[in-house]
Symmetry: C2
Subunit: 95 residues, 2 copies
């Protein structure tokens, strides 16, 4: 299965696993997911959006404001995403 198609389901699994286990192995799955996401050019703001949707699913009774606060973080991370895109194009130029 293509990484992007399955990434929501996978993130849900590994975040739930982390909340249950809270161990190094669970964190390691997060690092692996991060590497795959970067490899597949998932921008950081999309990671935050994925996290928001997953948290919303795991904790359906959270106040709306808590979920809304993620939208602000997404806005902030868009700048980081642009810096990262620039990095990709610099790397491309150097190849």
């Amino acid at each position: 299965m293509e990484f992007r198609d399955g990434m929501e389901k996978r993130y849900n699994q590994i975040l739930k696993n982390y909340l249950n286990e809270k161990d190094e192995k669970a964190l390691y799955l997060g690092q692996k997911f991060s590497r795959k996401s970067i490899e597949h050019l998932v921008p950081p703001e999309e990671m935050i959006s994925l996290h928001r949707n997953t948290v919303k699913e795991i904790f359906p009774n959270l106040p709306k404001e808590v979920i809304d606060s993620f939208d602000f973080l997404i806005e902030v991370m868009i700048g980081y995403g642009l810096a990262y895109q620039e990095h990709q194009s610099l790397r491309f130029q150097q190849q």
Copy 2:
């Protein structure tokens, strides 16, 4: 005041303002904050940590698990931080 010294207080202000106003101007303050953070080499995982601490302060009764879920997101964003550092050093080499 140095940006880094005041960034927690500032993020708290602009996130609260966003939650109250939910308008373009409030989002624009987020973009400005993002640019400043990148300029001051604040890594993305530190941004998530800042967001977590601010959310914890604004919503003191959130379940511990919701706050813990940010630790997992921080772990994921560390990979993005490393990619961004690489970008900085590439830019330095090209200057």
